[in-house]
Structures are given as structure tokens and as C-alpha cells.
Amino acid sequence: MVPITHFLYLAGILFLIGVVGVLARRNVLIVLMSIEIMLNAANLVLVAFSRAWGNLEGQVLVFLTIAIAAAEAAVGLAIVVSLFRARTGTDIDDLTVLRD
């Protein structure tokens, strides 16, 4: 018997890893992967509570979240390819076009 708090701890650790990846890494591809890890942690919380309450609506929400994550990955990677074409590279510290 695994209590639900274990699943929440796991999701929290995964989310934390994703946050650290976004903040600490400079490669924009790794940053996108860290965002996927964070989305995964949120999904895990939804599924855990859905199971705990015996309510399927959380799983429906996770289904929609996965579809949105796919859309986000497609657009994000298109932006990466576009950045590379503009010869900016994949280092997010170099992406200062909108700030300057």
C-alpha cells in the first residue's frame, strides 16, 4: 500500500528538478526538456488525486494537458530551429533581441 503522499513527494521532486533545469541550464533544448519534466510532475499530481478521490475528471484533464504539451513542444522546437537559422545559437543568454 503506497500512500498518496508518496506520489505527491515524487511529483514535487520532479517539479523541482524541472525548475532547476530551467533556471540553471543555458541550452534552450535542455530548458524545453525541463519544462516537459515540470508538466509531467503536474500530470502526476492530477492522476494521484484522481485516484484518491475516485474521480475520472483529473485523468481527462491530464489527457488534455498532454495534448497541449505536444503543441508546446512543436512550437518551442520550431522557435529553436528559427533561432538557429538566425545564427543566434541555442544559448538562451544570447537571446536578447527583444530586451535590447
Binding site: 503506497v2 520532479l14 494521484a48 485523468q59 481527462v60 498532454i66 530551429v81
Partner: protein, 200 residues
Amino acid sequence: MTGTEVVFWLAAVTAVLSALATITRRNPVVAAVCLVASFFAVAVVYVLLSATFLAAIQVLVYAGAIMVLFVFVVMVLDKDDSGEIRHAGPTRISRYGYNGAWMLLVGFLAWVLLGTWSRQYVTPGSSLDAQPDFGSAQSVGRELFYRYVFAFEAVSLLLLAAVIGAVVVARSRRERDDDASGLNARQRARNDAGLSAKGV
């Protein structure tokens, strides 16, 4: 420890370690493969939470679609973390492909074995007893297509918009300029269709 606890701890440790490996690897291809290992482990946790349909979706969409997208972009870019262009020979790429395929195979086998095994020992993480079809494709689909059909259709529209947006954003500047000026557009269309300019 019961079977459920063993499966949970194995999957949880795998998920955390491979997520850590994802954000610490220098090479994006290795990071992507570690990310897939993390997704597989989370899919095992979904099975423990009797969300079998979502576990299958997780493997299909994340490990299938998103991972392939990442690997293709990395291969197209062919740059490492320091921003230098690597002149990766076929031996290097094939070595990554070989290791990645092995890790994928082992991950998939572990997912199937742990999934079937945990189904036998499943003692869910709550005091409530789930219905036998809780989390199955049928029950989730019923919920999705009766009460959440509007959200479902809206997401399909969003996916269409995202695909079009991705194609527009990822086009090269030359293609955009050509289309904007209208010059060479017909020529390019003919070339794309495989027709030579002289023959037509």
C-alpha cells in the same frame, strides 16, 4: 514490502535519477534519451494509480512523438552545449543511436514487465476501492466525449493551430522572402513537385 511498494520505489527512483541526468548532461541527445527513461518511469507510476489509458498515452505521445521531435531537432542543429558546431562523423551518431536504442528497449521491456506485474499486486494509493474499469480507455473516453467534448474539440483546434504555427515559424528566411515577393514562387513549386524547369 508488497509488490506495489517495490514497483513504486523502482519507478520513482528511476524517474528522479533520469530527470536529474536530463538536466545535467551536456549532450542534448543523451539528455533526450534520459528524458524518455523518466517518462517511462512516470508511465509505470500511472499504472500503479490504475490510470492504464494515460500510461499508454504517455508512452505514445511523450516517448514517441515529443522525443522524436527533440532528437530530430538536435540532429538538424548538430551543435553541442558550448555552441560550437560539431562535425559528427557517422560513427558518433551511430554510437548514440546504438546506445539510445538499447536504453529504449530496456525501458520498454521494464515498462511492460512492471506494468503487468503491478496489475497483479495492485493495492491502490487510497482507501477507496476503484471500479474495475477505473482509468480504462472506455471510462476515460466516456467522460471525455460526454462532459468534456467541447474541451476536446478546442484542443484539436489548438493542435492544428500549433502545427501551422510551427511550420510558419520554422521556415527559412529565404523561403519567406520568396513567398513575400512572389518571385520564384512558381519555379520553386515546380522544383518541389519534381518537375524540371526546362521540361515544362
